[in-house]
């Protein structure tokens, strides 16, 4: 469970100070699929960095699974990221010239999971993200965009995180492949009960979530639960 209370973030000092977040509060229950929406410069990226423990807020509290992570050191934040957070990036960020399996196992390497267990868990995660087993030993640069993003999703899943953070996951994909990836997220949410936070600036992407938080100029302007979410065509 995620509890964010009155978070602010200020960059710089004095006259040049810029307040990216001006007091944001919300709660995310386990198993929710949330989209955080907003135009560029709205503060949604800053919010995502704080949720992902890549950055700490200037003030306010952030409770992740009952633990306050808002004032931790770099090293402690790394531990939180390792155990509780899975990232999916717009630009995929797979290791080039490295096999799919190794890419997915990478978080487990840093988590200190032993080698045999790594492969087992990576295989499970890849299956959950819907990548065909025939691709496991392909190099990441031999895959299509949609396949690459599924590998990235599997990598985000593999350490069994509390929260999967997806930052514009379809931004580099065409509409059809984007739909497939969104379908994967929905499936993970419905079938595996994963908590997913999707950051996007496109309303029709956000509509795939159950709840949409809209951010503008550093504050939340709307937070609405949807009764009827848009279903991605589970193509393939």
């Amino acid at each position: 469970m995620i509890e964010v209370k009155n978070i602010t973030k200020t960059y710089g000092v004095g006259d040049t100070a810029f307040q990216a977040l001006r007091g944001v509060s919300f709660t995310i229950e386990d198993g929710e699929f949330i989209a955080i929406m907003g135009p560029s410069g709205s503060g949604k990226s800053t919010l995502m960095h704080i949720l992902g423990c890549l950055d700490t807020p200037s003030s306010g509290t952030y409770q992740l699974d009952g633990k306050d992570v808002s004032q931790l050191s770099d090293e402690e934040l790394a531990d939180i990221r390792k155990d509780k957070i899975g990232f999916v990036f717009q630009s995929f960020n797979l290791l080039p010239r490295t096999t799919v399996l190794r890419n997915v196992m990478l978080p487990l390497v840093y988590a200190g999971v032993e080698a045999g267990e790594r492969e087992r868990r990576a295989t499970v995660a890849l299956a959950a993200s819907g990548l065909d087993a025939s691709h496991f030993f392909h190099k990441s640069n031999e895959l299509s965009g949609g396949q690459i993003q599924r590998v990235a999703i599997a990598r985000a899943l593999v350490n069994n995180p509390t929260l999967i953070l997806a930052d514009e996951p379809t931004g580099n994909l065409d509409t059809k492949t984007g739909e497939i990836v969104l379908g994967t997220f929905q499936k993970l949410n419905e079938d595996h009960g994963r908590t997913i936070v999707l950051i996007t600036h496109e309303p029709d992407i956000a509509e795939h979530a159950q709840r949409i938080i809209t951010v503008r100029d550093g504050v939340i302007v709307s937070d609405s639960k949807r009764h009827q979410r848009r279903n991605a065509r589970h193509a393939e």
Binding site: D55, D79, L95, R155
Partner: protein, 416 residues
């Protein structure tokens, strides 16, 4: 992250960029190999020169006529033949009056044209006494050396060095010494006088200052009578009983000859006394300078190789900024990142170091085997080169590694 994981990451990263890794390793290889090869050439040269000086005889003091020039001017031509101030009487006086002289031989040398069976050669004819064999560490290959009786009786006999023998009588490859076996007993002509060959000396190898293989030895009195026509000697070789008394013998010989020649000012001496140890120390200091020179040239290439590593690591860090950001985002700590880059740098230097040592030792042995120059691999240079390369890897790898580890994951991920 276990050490095995770090190694695996390192292997993946380095093999992903084979050309660049290879070129970086090459820089280190050349640096280390040149240190080892150049030091071995320097060491080989100095030990070669030293052993060839040693082979001239041990505990040797040479007295030559003519004023001393400098210690380095010792050689076949310094003063020899140009002055006639040293006589057999001087040699006899040294033998009878100076203590701790175990052997003494006087030489009367001159360049002569020598003919035999229609062949001819121009070489050094050395008039010697029987003790010359012992003093100069010579051994006989065929026949026997000049005896004291032959020296006294003005016998026209000659002992040939192996080079002179083959120049005059040809070679015979079926023999172990490469010479025809019927030379002893034949005659050679020096200044139109017939000398009977009574022996051939064993080869000492033709390196160093004077080539003792290209020589013809005849009794010293015969040389004075038939060749030079006076009683001057060109060298008196004195062998001291031990290395400890060399200075005493040298001083006694100098003062004896000064008084015999009626000279009071030692700086105006008409002879020079050379101590083999002086020569040895001069030569060793020269060859040591040479070794240091070669090693410092090689050290420069080692440093250049190290800068190559730092350059590559810095480029790598920049190029892989996003990868570093990703690794941090999925839980890598500073230590994990800096360890990974440090291990990459150290691996490059270690691989380069091992190949460099193999190459350096190979080049040194190869050059030695080809006979171009004597080489001697000194283990200190191997350890030094390897130590320096390991240090370079750590030092030049540490800075880029730290830089990589300190990157903020957000900035790193956004880096284009």
């Amino acid at each position: 992250m276990t050490f095995n994981d770090t190694l695996e990451e390192t292997y993946t990263a380095l093999s992903a960029n084979k050309a660049r890794s290879g070129l970086t390793v090459l820089g280190i290889v050349i640096g280390i190999a040149s240190v080892i090869a150049m030091v071995s050439v320097g060491q080989g040269a100095s030990s070669g020169i030293q052993s060839s000086i040693q082979s001239l005889g041990s505990n040797l003091i040479e007295v030559t006529p003519g004023a001393a020039r400098n210690a380095g001017g010792f050689g076949a031509s310094s003063g020899r033949g140009s002055a006639t101030t040293l006589t057999q009487a001087d040699a006899d006086a040294i033998q009878s009056q100076v203590q701790n002289v175990s052997a003494l031989a006087s030489e009367v040398s001159s360049r002569q044209q020598i003919t035999a069976r229609g062949t001819n050669t121009n070489t050094t004819v050395d008039g010697v006494t029987a003790s010359y064999l012992q003093i100069r560490n010579l051994t006989m290959d065929q026949g026997s050396f000049v005896t004291d009786a032959e020296s006294q009786s003005l016998a026209k006999v000659a002992v040939l060095g192996p080079t002179a023998a083959s120049d005059l009588f040809g070679t015979d490859d079926t023999q172990t010494d490469g010479l025809p076996q019927d030379i002893v007993g034949q005659t050679i002509r020096i200044k139109n006088m017939q000398f009977t060959v009574i022996g051939i000396t064993a080869s000492k190898g033709g390196s160093g200052f004077s080539n003792q293989d290209d020589m013809v030895y005849i009794p010293s009195l015969s040389a004075q009578r038939f060749l030079s026509g006076n009683s001057a000697v060109s060298t008196v070789d004195i062998q001291a009983t031990s290395a400890d008394v060399m200075t005493q013998v040298q001083n006694d010989v100098t003062s004896l000859l000064l008084s015999r020649h009626g000279i009071t000012d030692a700086t105006k001496a008409d002879f020079s006394v050379l101590n083999q140890n002086d020569l040895l120390s001069t030569v060793s200091s020269v060859s040591q300078t040479l070794t240091i020179l070669l090693a410092s040239i090689a050290a420069i290439s080692l440093v250049v190789g190290g800068i190559g590593i730092m350059n590559m690591m810095l480029t790598t860090v920049t190029e892989r900024t996003r990868e570093i950001g990703l690794r941090k985002a999925i839980g890598a700590k500073r230590g994990d990142i800096s360890k990974q880059f440090l291990v990459e740098a150290v691996t490059l230097t270690l691989v380069g170091g091992v190949i460099g040592i193999a190459l350096g030792v190979g080049v040194a042995l190869g050059v030695g085997a080809l006979g171009l120059i004597t080489t001697s691999i000194s283990w200190y240079s191997v350890f030094l080169a390897f130590g320096v390369s390991a240090a370079i890897g750590i030092v030049f790898g540490y800075y880029p590694a730290r830089r990589a580890a300190a990157l903020n994951p957000i900035d790193a991920l956004r880096y284009e």
